[in-house]
Protein backbone atom coordinates (compact mmCIF):
# COMPACT_ATOMS: atom_id res chain seq x y z
CA UNK A 1 0.00 0.00 0.00
CA UNK A 2 2.73 2.41 0.98
CA UNK A 3 4.52 1.49 -2.20
CA UNK A 4 1.41 2.34 -4.23
CA UNK A 5 1.03 5.72 -2.56
CA UNK A 6 4.62 6.65 -3.20
CA UNK A 7 4.39 5.37 -6.78
CA UNK A 8 1.39 7.65 -7.26
CA UNK A 9 3.35 10.53 -5.79
CA UNK A 10 6.24 9.74 -8.13
CA UNK A 11 3.89 9.61 -11.10
CA UNK A 12 2.61 13.10 -10.28
CA UNK A 13 6.14 14.47 -9.97
CA UNK A 14 7.29 12.90 -13.22
CA UNK A 15 4.15 14.12 -14.98
CA UNK A 16 5.04 17.66 -13.89
CA UNK A 17 8.37 17.06 -15.60
CA UNK A 18 6.92 15.57 -18.78
CA UNK A 19 3.91 17.85 -19.33
CA UNK A 20 5.84 21.00 -20.33
CA UNK A 21 7.82 18.94 -22.82
CA UNK A 22 4.69 17.31 -24.23
CA UNK A 23 2.94 20.70 -24.50
CA UNK A 24 5.87 22.22 -26.40
CA UNK A 25 6.23 19.26 -28.74
CA UNK A 26 2.56 18.82 -29.55
CA UNK A 27 1.95 22.58 -29.59
CA UNK A 28 4.61 23.16 -32.23
CA UNK A 29 3.56 20.06 -34.09
CA UNK A 30 -0.05 21.20 -34.34
CA UNK A 31 0.34 24.96 -34.69
CA UNK A 32 3.59 25.37 -36.61
CA UNK A 33 4.39 22.17 -38.45
CA UNK A 34 0.71 21.35 -38.99
CA UNK A 35 1.26 17.79 -39.99
CA UNK A 36 0.18 14.58 -38.39
CA UNK A 37 2.88 12.96 -36.31
CA UNK A 38 4.12 9.84 -38.10
CA UNK A 39 3.25 6.68 -36.14
CA UNK A 40 1.37 8.71 -33.57
CA UNK A 41 0.17 5.65 -31.69
CA UNK A 42 3.66 4.24 -31.34
CA UNK A 43 5.04 7.58 -30.20
CA UNK A 44 2.35 7.92 -27.56
CA UNK A 45 3.03 4.41 -26.31
CA UNK A 46 6.71 5.32 -26.22
CA UNK A 47 5.99 8.43 -24.12
CA UNK A 48 3.92 6.33 -21.74
CA UNK A 49 6.78 3.85 -21.43
CA UNK A 50 9.22 6.66 -20.70
CA UNK A 51 6.86 7.95 -18.02
CA UNK A 52 6.33 4.53 -16.42
CA UNK A 53 10.02 3.78 -16.69
CA UNK A 54 11.10 6.96 -14.95
CA UNK A 55 8.54 6.55 -12.16
CA UNK A 56 9.63 2.98 -11.40
CA UNK A 57 13.30 3.90 -11.77
CA UNK A 58 13.13 6.82 -9.34
CA UNK A 59 10.95 4.93 -6.88
CA UNK A 60 13.40 2.03 -6.87
CA UNK A 61 16.36 4.33 -6.37
CA UNK A 62 14.63 6.12 -3.50
CA UNK A 63 13.74 2.85 -1.90
CA UNK A 64 16.89 0.83 -2.39
CA UNK A 65 20.02 2.65 -3.36
CA UNK A 66 19.81 6.25 -2.20
CA UNK A 67 19.21 5.70 1.54
CA UNK A 68 22.04 3.21 1.78
CA UNK A 69 24.39 5.17 -0.46
CA UNK A 70 23.77 8.42 1.39
CA UNK A 71 24.19 6.77 4.77
CA UNK A 72 27.39 5.23 3.52
CA UNK A 73 28.75 8.58 2.37
CA UNK A 74 28.10 10.02 5.83
CA UNK A 75 29.58 7.04 7.65
CA UNK A 76 32.71 6.87 5.54
CA UNK A 77 33.47 10.53 6.16
CA UNK A 78 32.78 10.40 9.90
CA UNK A 79 35.91 10.81 12.06
CA UNK A 80 34.82 7.81 14.17
CA UNK A 81 35.27 5.58 11.15
CA UNK A 82 38.45 7.22 9.86
CA UNK A 83 40.29 6.92 13.16
CA UNK A 84 38.83 3.67 14.37
CA UNK A 85 42.20 2.20 15.35
CA UNK A 86 43.32 5.23 17.33
CA UNK A 87 42.55 5.99 20.97
CA UNK A 88 41.51 9.56 20.18
CA UNK A 89 40.71 11.63 17.17
CA UNK A 90 43.79 13.62 16.14
CA UNK A 91 43.51 17.39 15.74
CA UNK A 92 45.41 17.51 12.51
CA UNK A 93 43.81 15.68 9.62
CA UNK A 94 45.85 14.74 6.59
CA UNK A 95 44.38 14.15 3.18
CA UNK A 96 45.82 10.63 3.14
CA UNK A 97 43.55 9.66 6.05
CA UNK A 98 40.61 9.57 3.70
CA UNK A 99 41.77 6.63 1.63
CA UNK A 100 38.40 4.82 1.68
CA UNK A 101 36.54 7.97 0.75
CA UNK A 102 38.63 8.31 -2.41
CA UNK A 103 38.01 4.69 -3.30
CA UNK A 104 34.31 5.08 -2.58
CA UNK A 105 34.09 8.22 -4.72
CA UNK A 106 35.84 6.54 -7.62
CA UNK A 107 33.75 3.36 -7.39
CA UNK A 108 30.37 5.04 -6.92
CA UNK A 109 31.12 7.55 -9.68
CA UNK A 110 31.88 4.76 -12.12
CA UNK A 111 28.94 2.59 -11.09
CA UNK A 112 26.26 5.29 -11.12
CA UNK A 113 27.43 6.64 -14.48
CA UNK A 114 27.13 3.21 -16.08
CA UNK A 115 23.48 3.12 -15.00
CA UNK A 116 22.67 6.72 -16.03
CA UNK A 117 19.74 6.56 -18.51
CA UNK A 118 20.62 9.82 -20.29
CA UNK A 119 24.10 8.52 -21.06
CA UNK A 120 22.68 5.26 -22.42
CA UNK A 121 20.49 7.34 -24.75
CA UNK A 122 23.38 9.41 -26.08
CA UNK A 123 25.58 6.34 -26.47
CA UNK A 124 22.88 4.57 -28.48
CA UNK A 125 22.57 7.57 -30.78
CA UNK A 126 26.36 7.88 -31.13
CA UNK A 127 26.73 4.24 -32.11
CA UNK A 128 23.95 4.60 -34.67
CA UNK A 129 25.32 7.82 -36.19
CA UNK A 130 28.96 6.72 -36.25
CA UNK A 131 28.03 3.45 -37.92
CA UNK A 132 29.50 1.50 -35.03
CA UNK A 133 32.88 3.28 -34.92
CA UNK A 134 31.90 4.40 -31.43
CA UNK A 135 30.41 1.59 -29.42
CA UNK A 136 27.78 2.04 -26.73
CA UNK A 137 29.94 0.31 -24.16
CA UNK A 138 33.17 2.00 -25.18
CA UNK A 139 31.60 5.42 -24.72
CA UNK A 140 29.85 4.52 -21.48
CA UNK A 141 33.02 3.12 -19.93
CA UNK A 142 35.09 6.10 -21.09
CA UNK A 143 32.58 8.52 -19.54
CA UNK A 144 32.32 6.46 -16.35
CA UNK A 145 36.11 6.47 -15.95
CA UNK A 146 36.07 10.24 -16.41
CA UNK A 147 33.44 10.70 -13.71
CA UNK A 148 35.37 8.36 -11.47
CA UNK A 149 38.61 10.37 -11.77
CA UNK A 150 36.70 13.64 -11.53
CA UNK A 151 34.93 12.72 -8.29
CA UNK A 152 38.12 11.46 -6.69
CA UNK A 153 39.82 14.77 -7.46
CA UNK A 154 36.74 16.67 -6.30
CA UNK A 155 36.82 14.83 -2.97
CA UNK A 156 40.52 15.62 -2.65
CA UNK A 157 39.72 19.27 -3.24
CA UNK A 158 37.08 19.38 -0.50
CA UNK A 159 39.42 17.66 1.95
CA UNK A 160 42.34 19.96 1.20
CA UNK A 161 40.12 23.04 0.87
CA UNK A 162 41.80 24.28 -2.30
CA UNK A 163 39.88 26.67 -4.57
CA UNK A 164 37.57 25.03 -7.07
CA UNK A 165 38.23 27.42 -9.94
CA UNK A 166 41.92 26.50 -10.28
CA UNK A 167 41.08 22.84 -10.85
CA UNK A 168 38.38 23.73 -13.34
CA UNK A 169 40.66 26.12 -15.21
CA UNK A 170 43.39 23.50 -15.51
CA UNK A 171 40.72 21.07 -16.72
CA UNK A 172 39.59 23.58 -19.36
CA UNK A 173 43.17 24.07 -20.49
CA UNK A 174 43.56 20.29 -20.93
CA UNK A 175 40.28 20.12 -22.88
CA UNK A 176 41.35 22.95 -25.17
CA UNK A 177 44.76 21.42 -25.92
CA UNK A 178 43.20 18.00 -26.48
CA UNK A 179 40.63 19.46 -28.85
CA UNK A 180 43.37 20.24 -31.35
CA UNK A 181 44.76 16.71 -31.29
CA UNK A 182 41.66 14.55 -30.93
CA UNK A 183 39.91 13.07 -34.00
CA UNK A 184 37.44 15.66 -35.35
CA UNK A 185 34.41 13.39 -35.20
CA UNK A 186 34.61 12.87 -31.45
CA UNK A 187 34.81 16.51 -30.37
CA UNK A 188 31.13 17.44 -30.29
CA UNK A 189 30.21 14.14 -28.67
CA UNK A 190 32.95 14.53 -26.05
CA UNK A 191 31.70 18.01 -25.11
CA UNK A 192 28.19 16.59 -24.83
CA UNK A 193 29.23 13.76 -22.59
CA UNK A 194 30.15 16.27 -19.91
CA UNK A 195 26.53 17.31 -19.54
CA UNK A 196 24.82 13.95 -19.68
CA UNK A 197 26.75 12.21 -16.96
CA UNK A 198 25.20 13.92 -14.02
CA UNK A 199 21.51 13.38 -13.78
CA UNK A 200 19.09 11.10 -12.02
CA UNK A 201 21.38 8.53 -10.46
CA UNK A 202 24.61 10.38 -9.87
CA UNK A 203 23.55 13.76 -8.49
CA UNK A 204 21.83 12.68 -5.24
CA UNK A 205 24.63 10.33 -4.20
CA UNK A 206 27.33 12.81 -5.11
CA UNK A 207 25.55 15.60 -3.26
CA UNK A 208 25.40 13.42 -0.14
CA UNK A 209 29.10 12.70 -0.40
CA UNK A 210 30.01 16.37 -0.78
CA UNK A 211 27.79 17.41 2.08
CA UNK A 212 29.09 14.62 4.33
CA UNK A 213 32.68 15.61 3.67
CA UNK A 214 32.19 19.33 3.98
CA UNK A 215 30.42 18.96 7.32
CA UNK A 216 32.95 16.58 8.90
CA UNK A 217 36.35 17.77 7.65
CA UNK A 218 37.59 20.39 10.13
CA UNK A 219 37.61 23.90 8.71
CA UNK A 220 35.14 23.25 5.89
CA UNK A 221 31.66 24.65 5.80
CA UNK A 222 28.91 22.57 4.21
CA UNK A 223 27.31 25.59 2.59
CA UNK A 224 30.47 26.81 0.90
CA UNK A 225 32.62 23.72 0.29
CA UNK A 226 29.95 21.12 -0.37
CA UNK A 227 29.54 22.25 -3.98
CA UNK A 228 31.77 21.54 -6.91
CA UNK A 229 31.68 17.74 -7.16
CA UNK A 230 29.17 17.87 -10.00
CA UNK A 231 31.37 20.34 -11.84
CA UNK A 232 34.24 17.85 -11.63
CA UNK A 233 31.98 15.03 -12.74
CA UNK A 234 30.93 17.02 -15.81
CA UNK A 235 34.41 18.16 -16.81
CA UNK A 236 36.50 15.01 -16.68
CA UNK A 237 34.36 12.86 -18.99
CA UNK A 238 35.15 15.35 -21.78
CA UNK A 239 38.84 14.58 -21.27
CA UNK A 240 38.36 10.83 -20.96
CA UNK A 241 36.14 10.56 -24.04
CA UNK A 242 38.75 12.39 -26.12
CA UNK A 243 41.45 10.08 -24.75
CA UNK A 244 39.23 7.13 -25.71
CA UNK A 245 38.99 8.42 -29.28
CA UNK A 246 42.70 9.16 -29.45
CA UNK A 247 43.54 5.65 -28.28
CA UNK A 248 41.14 4.13 -30.79
CA UNK A 249 42.69 6.17 -33.58
CA UNK A 250 46.20 5.28 -32.50
CA UNK A 251 45.34 1.57 -32.43
CA UNK A 252 43.84 1.83 -35.89
CA UNK A 253 47.03 3.52 -37.17
CA UNK A 254 49.18 0.82 -35.68
CA UNK A 255 47.07 -1.91 -37.24
CA UNK A 256 47.30 -0.28 -40.64
CA UNK A 257 51.03 0.20 -40.38
CA UNK A 258 51.42 -3.44 -39.50
CA UNK A 259 49.34 -4.36 -42.52
CA UNK A 260 51.57 -2.24 -44.73
CA UNK A 261 54.68 -3.78 -43.25
CA UNK A 262 53.33 -7.23 -43.98
CA UNK A 263 52.78 -6.44 -47.63
Amino acid sequence: MELLISLGQGLLNTLKDVIPIAVIIFGFQLLVIRRAIPNLKKVLIGFTYVLIGLVLFLQGLEQALFPLGKLMATQLTAPEFLFKGLAEIPNQIHWQDYMWVYIFAAAIGFATTIAEPALIAVAMKAQEVSGGAISVWGLRIAVALGVSVGLTLGVFRIITGTPLQYYIMVGYAIVIVQTFFAPKMIIALAYDSGGVTTSTVTVPLVAALGLGLASTVPGRSPVLDGFGLIAFASLFPIISVMIYAQLAEWREHKKQRRKQDAL
Partner: protein, 245 residues
Protein backbone atom coordinates in the same frame (compact mmCIF):
# COMPACT_ATOMS: atom_id res chain seq x y z
CA UNK B 1 3.60 -10.57 -29.24
CA UNK B 2 6.16 -13.23 -28.56
CA UNK B 3 8.97 -11.27 -30.18
CA UNK B 4 7.95 -8.21 -28.18
CA UNK B 5 8.18 -10.21 -25.01
CA UNK B 6 11.58 -11.59 -25.83
CA UNK B 7 12.89 -8.13 -26.71
CA UNK B 8 11.54 -6.86 -23.40
CA UNK B 9 13.30 -9.69 -21.64
CA UNK B 10 16.55 -8.89 -23.42
CA UNK B 11 16.29 -5.24 -22.34
CA UNK B 12 15.55 -6.38 -18.83
CA UNK B 13 18.72 -8.48 -18.68
CA UNK B 14 20.69 -5.51 -20.04
CA UNK B 15 19.25 -3.31 -17.29
CA UNK B 16 20.27 -5.85 -14.69
CA UNK B 17 23.80 -5.72 -16.05
CA UNK B 18 23.79 -1.90 -16.00
CA UNK B 19 22.84 -1.87 -12.36
CA UNK B 20 25.08 -4.65 -11.13
CA UNK B 21 27.99 -2.24 -10.63
CA UNK B 22 26.09 -0.01 -8.19
CA UNK B 23 24.79 -2.97 -6.26
CA UNK B 24 28.30 -4.43 -6.05
CA UNK B 25 29.86 -1.15 -4.86
CA UNK B 26 27.24 -0.56 -2.18
CA UNK B 27 27.30 -4.17 -0.97
CA UNK B 28 31.11 -4.19 -0.81
CA UNK B 29 31.36 -0.99 1.21
CA UNK B 30 28.52 -1.94 3.53
CA UNK B 31 29.65 -5.49 4.26
CA UNK B 32 33.44 -5.33 3.95
CA UNK B 33 34.50 -1.79 4.78
CA UNK B 34 31.83 -0.56 7.16
CA UNK B 35 31.12 -4.13 8.32
CA UNK B 36 27.45 -3.62 8.87
CA UNK B 37 24.51 -5.78 7.82
CA UNK B 38 22.26 -4.55 5.04
CA UNK B 39 19.06 -3.16 6.59
CA UNK B 40 15.59 -4.00 5.18
CA UNK B 41 16.92 -6.45 2.66
CA UNK B 42 13.45 -7.23 1.28
CA UNK B 43 12.69 -3.54 0.66
CA UNK B 44 15.99 -3.11 -1.10
CA UNK B 45 15.46 -6.13 -3.33
CA UNK B 46 12.04 -4.81 -4.37
CA UNK B 47 13.66 -1.43 -5.02
CA UNK B 48 16.37 -2.91 -7.22
CA UNK B 49 13.72 -4.81 -9.16
CA UNK B 50 11.78 -1.56 -9.69
CA UNK B 51 14.91 0.20 -10.93
CA UNK B 52 15.55 -2.61 -13.41
CA UNK B 53 11.96 -2.56 -14.67
CA UNK B 54 12.05 1.23 -14.87
CA UNK B 55 15.23 1.32 -16.91
CA UNK B 56 13.82 -1.33 -19.26
CA UNK B 57 10.64 0.67 -19.89
CA UNK B 58 12.59 3.89 -20.28
CA UNK B 59 14.93 2.52 -22.96
CA UNK B 60 11.99 0.97 -24.81
CA UNK B 61 10.09 4.27 -24.69
CA UNK B 62 13.18 6.08 -25.87
CA UNK B 63 13.33 4.01 -29.02
CA UNK B 64 9.59 4.20 -29.65
CA UNK B 65 8.79 7.77 -28.61
CA UNK B 66 11.49 10.27 -27.77
CA UNK B 67 14.02 9.50 -30.52
CA UNK B 68 11.49 9.31 -33.38
CA UNK B 69 9.61 12.47 -32.35
CA UNK B 70 12.85 14.46 -31.96
CA UNK B 71 14.02 13.38 -35.37
CA UNK B 72 10.70 13.76 -37.18
CA UNK B 73 10.38 17.31 -35.83
CA UNK B 74 13.89 18.13 -36.97
CA UNK B 75 13.07 16.89 -40.47
CA UNK B 76 9.76 18.75 -40.51
CA UNK B 77 11.43 22.03 -39.51
CA UNK B 78 14.17 21.53 -42.08
CA UNK B 79 11.58 20.93 -44.79
CA UNK B 80 9.52 23.91 -43.70
CA UNK B 81 12.63 26.03 -43.92
CA UNK B 82 11.54 28.58 -41.32
CA UNK B 83 14.55 29.43 -39.20
CA UNK B 84 12.46 31.60 -36.91
CA UNK B 85 10.11 28.81 -35.85
CA UNK B 86 12.96 26.37 -35.44
CA UNK B 87 14.78 28.76 -33.11
CA UNK B 88 11.54 29.50 -31.25
CA UNK B 89 11.07 25.78 -30.76
CA UNK B 90 14.66 25.38 -29.53
CA UNK B 91 14.22 28.19 -27.02
CA UNK B 92 10.90 26.82 -25.72
CA UNK B 93 12.34 23.34 -25.40
CA UNK B 94 15.35 24.59 -23.43
CA UNK B 95 13.35 26.93 -21.21
CA UNK B 96 10.38 24.61 -20.71
CA UNK B 97 12.35 21.54 -19.76
CA UNK B 98 14.68 23.38 -17.42
CA UNK B 99 12.25 25.49 -15.41
CA UNK B 100 10.54 22.36 -14.03
CA UNK B 101 13.72 20.35 -13.52
CA UNK B 102 13.69 18.98 -9.94
CA UNK B 103 17.48 18.91 -9.66
CA UNK B 104 17.56 22.61 -10.53
CA UNK B 105 14.86 23.44 -7.99
CA UNK B 106 16.96 21.72 -5.32
CA UNK B 107 20.15 23.51 -6.34
CA UNK B 108 18.40 26.90 -6.45
CA UNK B 109 17.03 26.42 -2.93
CA UNK B 110 20.49 25.45 -1.73
CA UNK B 111 21.99 28.51 -3.42
CA UNK B 112 19.49 30.79 -1.69
CA UNK B 113 20.50 29.20 1.58
CA UNK B 114 24.18 29.88 0.86
CA UNK B 115 23.43 33.48 -0.03
CA UNK B 116 21.45 33.93 3.19
CA UNK B 117 24.18 32.39 5.36
CA UNK B 118 26.73 34.58 3.62
CA UNK B 119 24.51 37.56 4.47
CA UNK B 120 24.21 38.60 0.85
CA UNK B 121 20.43 38.51 1.07
CA UNK B 122 18.10 38.73 4.05
CA UNK B 123 17.63 35.51 5.98
CA UNK B 124 13.87 35.44 5.44
CA UNK B 125 11.74 32.98 3.54
CA UNK B 126 10.49 35.67 1.18
CA UNK B 127 13.95 36.91 0.24
CA UNK B 128 15.30 33.39 -0.18
CA UNK B 129 12.30 32.34 -2.26
CA UNK B 130 12.61 35.24 -4.64
CA UNK B 131 16.37 34.64 -4.94
CA UNK B 132 15.80 30.95 -5.75
CA UNK B 133 13.03 31.69 -8.25
CA UNK B 134 15.15 34.33 -9.96
CA UNK B 135 18.00 31.87 -10.20
CA UNK B 136 15.76 29.22 -11.74
CA UNK B 137 14.47 31.60 -14.39
CA UNK B 138 18.02 32.72 -15.09
CA UNK B 139 19.17 29.16 -15.68
CA UNK B 140 16.10 28.28 -17.75
CA UNK B 141 16.56 31.33 -20.00
CA UNK B 142 20.24 30.48 -20.35
CA UNK B 143 19.45 26.93 -21.44
CA UNK B 144 16.93 28.30 -23.93
CA UNK B 145 19.59 30.62 -25.35
CA UNK B 146 22.07 27.75 -25.40
CA UNK B 147 19.79 25.65 -27.59
CA UNK B 148 19.15 28.61 -29.91
CA UNK B 149 22.90 29.15 -30.34
CA UNK B 150 23.44 25.41 -30.70
CA UNK B 151 20.79 25.08 -33.42
CA UNK B 152 22.19 28.14 -35.23
CA UNK B 153 25.60 26.49 -35.12
CA UNK B 154 24.22 23.38 -36.79
CA UNK B 155 22.49 25.49 -39.45
CA UNK B 156 25.57 27.57 -40.18
CA UNK B 157 28.09 24.77 -39.66
CA UNK B 158 30.31 26.71 -37.25
CA UNK B 159 33.02 24.48 -35.78
CA UNK B 160 31.95 23.61 -32.26
CA UNK B 161 35.29 24.00 -30.55
CA UNK B 162 35.56 27.74 -31.21
CA UNK B 163 32.17 28.34 -29.63
CA UNK B 164 32.92 26.12 -26.63
CA UNK B 165 36.42 27.49 -26.09
CA UNK B 166 34.97 30.99 -26.26
CA UNK B 167 32.47 29.90 -23.62
CA UNK B 168 35.23 28.52 -21.39
CA UNK B 169 37.18 31.75 -21.62
CA UNK B 170 34.03 33.67 -20.67
CA UNK B 171 33.51 31.37 -17.67
CA UNK B 172 37.09 31.87 -16.51
CA UNK B 173 36.99 35.66 -16.91
CA UNK B 174 33.66 36.00 -15.10
CA UNK B 175 34.88 33.76 -12.28
CA UNK B 176 37.31 36.52 -11.25
CA UNK B 177 34.50 39.04 -10.91
CA UNK B 178 31.78 36.85 -9.43
CA UNK B 179 31.32 36.65 -5.64
CA UNK B 180 33.26 33.63 -4.33
CA UNK B 181 30.14 32.13 -2.74
CA UNK B 182 28.32 31.73 -6.03
CA UNK B 183 31.17 30.11 -7.99
CA UNK B 184 30.68 26.55 -6.69
CA UNK B 185 26.94 26.65 -7.31
CA UNK B 186 27.41 28.18 -10.74
CA UNK B 187 29.85 25.47 -11.79
CA UNK B 188 27.53 22.76 -10.51
CA UNK B 189 24.47 24.25 -12.19
CA UNK B 190 25.96 23.41 -15.56
CA UNK B 191 25.75 19.72 -14.81
CA UNK B 192 22.28 19.52 -13.34
CA UNK B 193 20.24 21.28 -16.01
CA UNK B 194 20.12 18.49 -18.53
CA UNK B 195 17.55 15.97 -17.39
CA UNK B 196 16.92 12.41 -18.42
CA UNK B 197 14.06 13.33 -20.75
CA UNK B 198 15.68 16.43 -22.25
CA UNK B 199 18.92 14.74 -23.24
CA UNK B 200 17.51 12.11 -25.65
CA UNK B 201 15.09 14.61 -27.15
CA UNK B 202 17.72 17.29 -27.74
CA UNK B 203 20.22 14.76 -29.06
CA UNK B 204 17.68 13.39 -31.54
CA UNK B 205 16.83 16.94 -32.60
CA UNK B 206 20.47 17.84 -33.24
CA UNK B 207 21.28 14.65 -35.08
CA UNK B 208 18.05 14.90 -37.09
CA UNK B 209 18.80 18.49 -38.11
CA UNK B 210 22.38 17.70 -39.08
CA UNK B 211 21.29 14.75 -41.19
CA UNK B 212 18.53 16.64 -42.99
CA UNK B 213 20.59 19.69 -43.92
CA UNK B 214 22.83 19.29 -46.92
CA UNK B 215 26.53 19.56 -46.17
CA UNK B 216 26.21 18.79 -42.45
CA UNK B 217 27.63 15.66 -40.94
CA UNK B 218 25.51 14.20 -38.09
CA UNK B 219 28.61 13.07 -36.22
CA UNK B 220 30.46 16.40 -36.49
CA UNK B 221 27.50 18.75 -36.30
CA UNK B 222 24.66 16.80 -34.74
CA UNK B 223 26.06 16.58 -31.24
CA UNK B 224 26.96 19.55 -29.10
CA UNK B 225 23.57 20.92 -28.04
CA UNK B 226 23.93 19.39 -24.57
CA UNK B 227 27.40 20.88 -24.29
CA UNK B 228 25.98 24.38 -24.82
CA UNK B 229 23.15 23.69 -22.40
CA UNK B 230 25.66 22.81 -19.69
CA UNK B 231 27.97 25.75 -20.39
CA UNK B 232 25.66 28.78 -20.47
CA UNK B 233 24.12 28.24 -17.01
CA UNK B 234 27.57 28.65 -15.45
CA UNK B 235 27.96 32.05 -17.09
CA UNK B 236 24.44 33.25 -16.36
CA UNK B 237 24.40 32.08 -12.73
CA UNK B 238 27.63 33.96 -12.02
CA UNK B 239 26.23 37.07 -13.69
CA UNK B 240 23.09 36.63 -11.59
CA UNK B 241 25.28 36.45 -8.50
CA UNK B 242 27.03 39.67 -9.49
CA UNK B 243 23.87 41.60 -10.33
CA UNK B 244 21.91 40.52 -7.26
CA UNK B 245 24.50 41.68 -4.72
Amino acid sequence: MKSQFSSFFKHFIASARDLSAIVAVIAFFQLVILQQPIPNLADILVGVLLVMLGLTFFIRGLEMGLFPIGESMAYAFARKGSVFWLLAFAFCLGFGTTIAEPALIAVAAEAANVAAVGEMIAHTDAAMNSYATGLRYTVAVSVGIALVVGVLRILKGWPIHYVIIGGYITVVVITFFAPAEIVGIAYDSGGVTTSTITVPLVTALGVGLASSIKGRNPMLDGFGLIAFASLTPMIFVMIYGMVML
